[in-house]
C-alpha cells in the first residue's frame, strides 16, 4: 500500500517535504495506525504520537487524505491511495506528524474545565436525575484529540482568541451539568466577540469528530443560554 507522509525534522530539514512509502501489509493490519507502525519499522525516524490504538486516548489525530481523523480508527480499506498524511492543520509542527498543542489546551483550560459547586459536599453523592444526567451525553465523551478545533477555519485565524469547538463543547458540558453553580461566570467568560461568537456554524468540527460529537449543537445551546439570560 502506498503512502505520502509529511516529514519535517527541525534538526536537519529547512522546510517540510512529502515522503513516499510503500508498505507490505499483513492481513491483521486493519487500521491506518497498523500501517504507520509498519512504516516506522522501515524508517524509525518517522515520528507520531499514539497510545491506546482504540480511539479513546486521542493521541494519533492527523490529517488523512485531507480530513482530520484518528489513525487508529481509520480503516485502511476505506482509504484512497496514495494515502496522504499530514499533521493537524493550523498548529505549529514540532516534527513530522507531531504538532504543538499548547494553544489548543490553553483554550481548553480557559473555560475552567472543572465542576464548580461551593456548597459543602454532602456525605453521599450529589443527586442528579437520569434525565439531567442524560444532558451530559454527547459532551463528556470528548477525548481532546483536537480534530475538531484544527479543522475549524475560525480557530485557524484566531487560535489565541477563539475558544474553538473542543473548548466550547467542554464549556457547555459544565453549563449543562445540574451540579455546577458557575453558569453565570461561565457565560460571562464567553460573552465576547471572539471567544464564542467566532463560531459561524461551519460544522467542519462535526464532520471530523471521531467520537461523533456535535460541538456546533453545543455552541448553539450556549448562545441560547446567553440570549435567555440577556433578554
Amino acid at each position: 500500500m502506498q503512502f505520502r507522509v509529511y516529514r519535517y525534522d527541525p534538526d536537519k530539514d529547512d522546510k517540510p517535504y512529502m515522503k513516499d512509502y510503500e508498505v507490505e501489509l499483513e492481513p491483521t493490519d486493519q487500521m491506518l495506525l497498523d500501517a504507520l507502525v509498519r512504516i516506522k519499522e522501515q524508517d524509525d525516524s518517522l515520528s507520531l504520537r499514539r497510545s491506546c490504538r482504540e480511539g479513546v486516548c486521542g493521541s494519533d489525530a492527523m490529517n488523512i487524505n485531507g480530513k482530520n481523523g484518528l489513525a487508529c480508527t481509520t480503516k485502511l480499506s476505506e482509504l484512497k491511495q496514495p494515502v496522504e498524511l499530514k499533521p493537524l492543520p493550523g498548529l505549529p509542527v514540532i516534527r513530522d506528524l507531531i504538532v504543538d498543542m499548547t494553544q489548543f489546551f490553553k483554550q481548553y483550560h480557559s473555560i475552567k474545565p472543572y465542576l464548580v459547586n461551593n456548597d459543602p459536599p454532602p456525605e453521599k453523592e450529589r443527586l442528579q436525575s437520569p434525565e439531567d444526567r442524560e444532558e451530559l451525553n454527547g459532551l463528556y465523551e470528548c477525548i481532546l484529540c483536537a480534530c475538531c478545533s484544527t479543522s475549524c477555519p475560525s480557530f485557524w485565524w484566531n487560535p489565541d482568541k477563539f475558544v474553538g469547538p473542543a473548548g466550547l463543547l467542554h464549556a457547555y458540558r459544565f453549563l449543562a451539568d445540574t451540579r455546577d453553580q458557575a453558569a453565570a461566570e461561565r457565560l460571562d467568560n464567553l460573552e465576547d466577540p471572539y471567544r464564542l461568537f467566532r463560531c459561524h456554524s461551519i460544522m467542519n468540527c462535526v464532520d471530523v469528530c471521531p467520537k461523533g460529537l456535535n460541538p456546533t449543537e453545543a455552541i448553539g445551546k450556549i448562545k441560547t443560554m446567553m440570549v435567555k439570560r440577556a433578554v
Partner: protein
C-alpha cells in the same frame, strides 16, 4: 525550557484546498464571499435606485443602462450572491433555533441551499434577461 531550545520558526500548514471542505463548509465560505459581493454592491444598488427614482429621464437612463450585457452579468452575479446569502442565512437562522444541527440534516440542507439558490438565480435570471 522549550522556548529557549526552539531555534526555528515552526511550520504551520492550513487545510485550504476547497476539495477538502465538506459541503456545509462550502456553504459557509460562499456565505462569506456572497456577503462581500453584496457589501460592495450596496453603493451600486443605491446608485441604481437613485437613478431610477430621480425623473422619467433618469428612469429611461436606468432601463437602457440595465440592458447593457456587462451590467446584466454583474446583476446576475449579485443576484446569485443575494439568493445564496438569503438561503444560507435562512438555514443558519433555523440552526440558531436548533433545527437541523445534526450532521446528516446539516449536509442535506447545505445541498439544498446550493440547489435552491442556483435554481432561483436561473429562473430570475431568465426573467431579467
Amino acid at each position: 525550557m522549550s522556548d529557549l531550545t526552539v531555534k526555528k520558526q515552526r511550520p504551520v500548514w492550513f487545510n485550504l484546498s476547497p476539495t477538502n471542505l465538506p459541503v456545509p463548509g462550502l456553504v459557509s465560505i460562499f456565505h462569506r464571499i456572497s456577503g462581500i459581493l453584496l457589501f460592495a454592491g450596496i453603493i451600486w444598488f443605491l446608485f441604481l435606485l437613485d437613478m431610477s427614482l430621480t425623473s422619467p429621464l433618469g428612469f429611461a437612463h436606468f432601463t437602457s443602462y440595465m440592458a447593457h450585457p456587462v451590467v446584466k452579468l454583474v446583476m446576475l452575479v449579485l443576484l446569485w450572491a443575494f439568493l445564496h446569502h438569503f438561503c444560507a442565512g435562512v438555514r443558519y437562522l433555523l440552526m440558531d433555533v436548533h433545527i437541523g444541527v445534526k450532521l446528516p440534516t446539516a449536509r442535506m440542507s447545505s445541498f439544498a441551499v446550493f440547489a435552491v439558490s442556483l435554481i432561483l438565480t436561473v429562473i430570475l435570471g431568465v426573467r431579467l434577461w
